[in-house]
C-alpha cells in the first residue's frame, strides 16, 4: 500500500500554516448551524462543537451524555473535566440525555477508531473480540447515539486503509448497516444514520439510497490517489470531487486559542 504523500505534520498552503487535523476540525464545524442542538461524543467532536460555537454558531446547544447540556467551557477540556460541566444551563442523567434528549437534537458528532464502507463505527476491539489485538474504549454512548440520533456525522483524525476498512472488526455503533437502507427500519432503530464523514483526507457523504460512503471533497493539497490508497474498499467518488479551501489564518488562530492545553490538537 502506498504511503501518504502528505505528512500529517505542518502543511504550507498559500502562506498559511495549519495541520490536516486542524483543517478536518474546521471543515466539520461547518455542519453545525447557529441554534442547532448538538450531541457530542468523546474526542474531536468536543473541539469541533466548541469551535463552531465560537466562530459561526454562538447559539448552538452543546450536550454530552454524562448529563451536561448547553455548556460553554472557556476552552476545550476533557469531557470528564469539571470545567466542561460547570456553566451548563442544564444538568441531567444519562437516561434523560441518551434516552430522551437525543431524540430531539439536530445533529450528533462521534469520533471513530474504524469506519467502514457503510459508515458503521468500531470503537471496541481490533482483531478477534475474545483475544483482541487492541482493546479500544467500547461504546460509551456511541451505540445509543448511532441508533437514535436523527442525524449523525463522524470524524476521524488519521485515515488509513486499516481504519477505513470494507467492514469494521466489531460493529459498535450503527452507521448505515450494510447497504440496505431498510435495515434500520427493520430493526426499529429511530435514528437517521450517518450522512457525513470527515477525515484528514477529505469529506465523505453517504448515499441516501444505499448508505455507502463516497468521496465528496478533498482537503487542499490531498490527491484522489491518496484518498483511494487510504481506503480499504473500492472507493466511489462524487461526479465532481471538490477541493476544500485551506483554512483561513483567523480560523486556525481561533482554533488554537481554544485548546491551550493541547488536549485535542497535540
Amino acid at each position: 500500500m502506498q504511503e501518504s504523500q502528505t505528512p500529517n505534520s505542518l502543511k504550507t498552503g498559500s502562506s498559511k500554516e495549519y495541520t490536516l487535523r486542524e483543517a478536518t476540525i474546521i471543515a466539520a464545524s461547518h455542519l453545525i448551524n447557529d441554534g442547532d442542538a448538538v450531541f457530542i461524543g468523546q474526542g474531536l467532536p468536543v473541539i469541533v462543537a466548541l469551535f463552531a460555537k465560537r466562530r459561526h454558531a454562538p447559539n448552538c446547544v452543546i450536550m454530552h451524555e454524562y448529563g451536561v447540556v448547553d455548556t460553554d467551557p472557556p476552552f476545550a477540556v476533557e469531557l470528564a473535566h469539571p470545567l466542561f460541566a460547570e456553566n451548563a444551563t442544564y444538568l441531567c442523567d444519562m437516561i434523560d440525555a441518551l434516552g430522551c434528549l437525543l431524540h430531539n437534537i439536530d445533529i450528533a458528532f462521534l469520533g471513530a477508531a474504524q469506519i467502514d464502507k457503510y459508515a458503521n463505527v468500531n470503537t471496541t476491539t481490533i482483531g478477534d473480540y475474545f483475544a483482541p489485538k487492541v482493546r479500544i474504549s467500547g461504546s460509551g454512548g456511541a451505540n445509543d447515539i448511532g441508533s437514535i440520533a436523527p442525524r449523525l456525522a463522524l470524524i476521524m483524525d488519521r485515515q488509513t486503509s486499516d481504519k477505513f476498512p470494507e467492514r469494521v472488526d466489531y460493529l459498535t455503533t450503527p452507521g448505515n448497516f450494510f447497504g440496505l437502507k431498510k435495515t434500520r427500519k427493520d430493526l426499529y432503530l429511530p435514528g437517521g444514520g450517518v450522512d457525513t464523514v470527515f477525515t484528514d483526507v477529505g469529506i465523505y457523504k453517504a448515499s441516501h439510497r444505499t448508505g455507502e460512503l463516497s468521496l465528496d471533497s478533498l482537503h487542499h493539497g490531498v490527491t484522489l490517489d491518496e484518498a483511494k490508497s487510504k481506503t480499504g474498499w473500492k472507493l466511489k467518488t462524487a461526479k465532481k470531487v471538490g477541493s476544500l479551501n485551506p483554512p483561513s489564518k483567523e480560523d486556525v488562530q481561533l482554533l488554537r486559542s481554544l485548546d491551550p492545553r493541547m488536549v485535542y490538537l497535540r
Binding site: E65, C92, D144
Partner: protein, 305 residues
C-alpha cells in the same frame, strides 16, 4: 442514625470477595479513594459494573488483578491496565479480565430496572450491532429482543436488570445521616446507587443536617437509602469534582506511564496505595502546589454558591 464510618471499615464491612461492585463517577464523582482501599484490603474475584464513568476505578482494580468480570460500556484508551488484561491470547492461569460490552444507555437502564424492580427493560438502541450479537460470559442473559405487546408491534432489544451488591459514589457533601448533596452531571450515578443492595458514599466534607435542609435542591439521595458515609478529602483525585477541584493531569499522565507494565503498576501502587496510611498523608503527598493548582476557589471559601 449515624452512618459515618472510616474508609477502611466501609470497605471491610461492605465488600466481599466475589461481589458485584458498581462505581459511579460522572463529572468526577468517582470514589478513587474507595478503589484504593479495596486494593489495600485485596477484595478479589469482583464483578464490576458501571455505565461508562467508572472506568478509571476499574483500571485501578484490574491493575491489582482483583476484577474477573466487567459489565461495562466504556473504558478509556489511557486505561492501560485494562488493555493489558484484555488484549491478546492469555495462557492458562494467567490473569485476564472478561468484558461484557453494553452501551451507556443500556447500563443506565439496567440500573433503572434494578432500582425499580422491573424484571426486564426495553431500549431503543443496540439492535443490529455486535453488542447484540457477540456475547461473553453473560451468554443469553445479556439481552434479547421482544415485540411490543401493544398495537405498534415494534421489536426492541430488552435488557436484564443489574443489582450490584455494593455501589459507591464520591460526592461533595453529606450529613451524618447520609443525606447526600451532589452537584454536577448525574450520569448513571443515581440509578446505580438506587439499584445496589448496599450504598456507600464518600464525601469531601460532612455538613450539618441544617445545611442539607437549606440546600435541599442539591440533595441527591435521602439518608435512609445510604448505608455508609466516609469523609475523604480529595476522594476523587486524580479525577476532578464539580465546584471543588479540577482533575490532576500530570498525576494521571504519570499513572498511565507507569501502567504500561505490571511491574510499573505494582511499584506505583506500592508508593501511592500500600505506602500510605491515612488520607492526610495522601493529600500531603499530592503536595501543596498541586492542591493549590487544582482546587476551585469557591471550594476553599466553603460556599456552595
Amino acid at each position: 442514625m449515624n452512618k459515618i464510618f472510616p474508609l477502611s471499615e466501609a470497605v471491610d464491612r461492605y465488600v466481599r470477595n466475589g461481589d458485584t461492585i458498581g462505581f459511579a463517577g460522572s463529572g468526577g464523582r468517582l470514589s478513587i479513594a474507595y478503589a484504593y482501599e479495596i486494593i489495600k484490603q485485596k477484595r478479589k474475584n469482583l464483578n464490576f459494573v458501571s455505565a461508562g464513568t467508572g472506568a478509571p476505578a476499574l483500571d485501578l482494580l484490574v491493575g491489582a488483578k482483583l476484577v474477573d468480570r466487567a459489565e461495562i460500556s466504556f473504558t478509556m484508551v489511557t486505561c492501560l491496565n485494562i488493555k493489558r488484561a484484555v488484549e491478546g491470547k492469555k495462557k492458562k492461569g494467567e490473569y485476564r479480565l472478561q468484558i461484557e460490552d453494553y452501551s451507556n444507555l443500556a447500563m443506565s437502564l439496567r440500573f433503572f430496572a434494578g432500582a425499580t424492580k422491573i424484571p426486564f427493560i426495553p431500549i431503543r438502541s443496540l439492535r443490529g450491532s455486535d453488542i447484540e450479537k457477540i456475547r461473553s460470559f453473560m451468554g443469553r442473559e445479556k439481552m434479547t429482543t421482544m415485540r411490543s405487546p401493544f398495537k405498534d408491534r415494534s421489536e426492541v432489544a430488552v435488557l436484564p436488570p443489574s443489582v450490584p451488591d455494593v455501589a459507591v459514589m464520591h460526592a461533595q457533601y453529606a450529613d451524618d445521616e447520609g443525606n447526600v448533596l451532589a452537584m454536577g452531571p448525574a450520569g448513571s450515578d443515581g440509578w446505580l446507587l438506587r439499584a445496589a443492595k448496599q450504598r456507600i458514599v464518600t464525601v469531601e466534607k460532612i455538613v450539618s443536617k441544617k445545611y442539607v435542609r437549606e440546600h435541599n435542591v442539591y440533595t441527591f439521595l435521602p439518608g435512609f437509602m445510604i448505608d455508609a458515609v466516609c469523609e475523604v478529602p480529595y476522594g476523587a483525585h486524580p479525577y476532578g469534582l464539580v465546584d471543588c477541584y479540577d482533575l490532576d493531569a500530570p498525576f494521571q499522565k504519570d499513572f498511565t506511564a507507569k501502567s504500561k507494565t505490571q511491574q510499573g503498576f505494582d511499584e506505583w501502587a506500592k508508593e501511592w496505595i500500600f505506602g500510605i496510611d491515612t488520607r492526610d498523608e495522601y493529600v500531603k503527598k499530592i503536595g501543596d502546589e498541586t492542591i493549590a493548582r487544582i482546587t476551585n476557589p469557591k471550594f476553599i471559601e466553603n460556599r456552595l454558591f
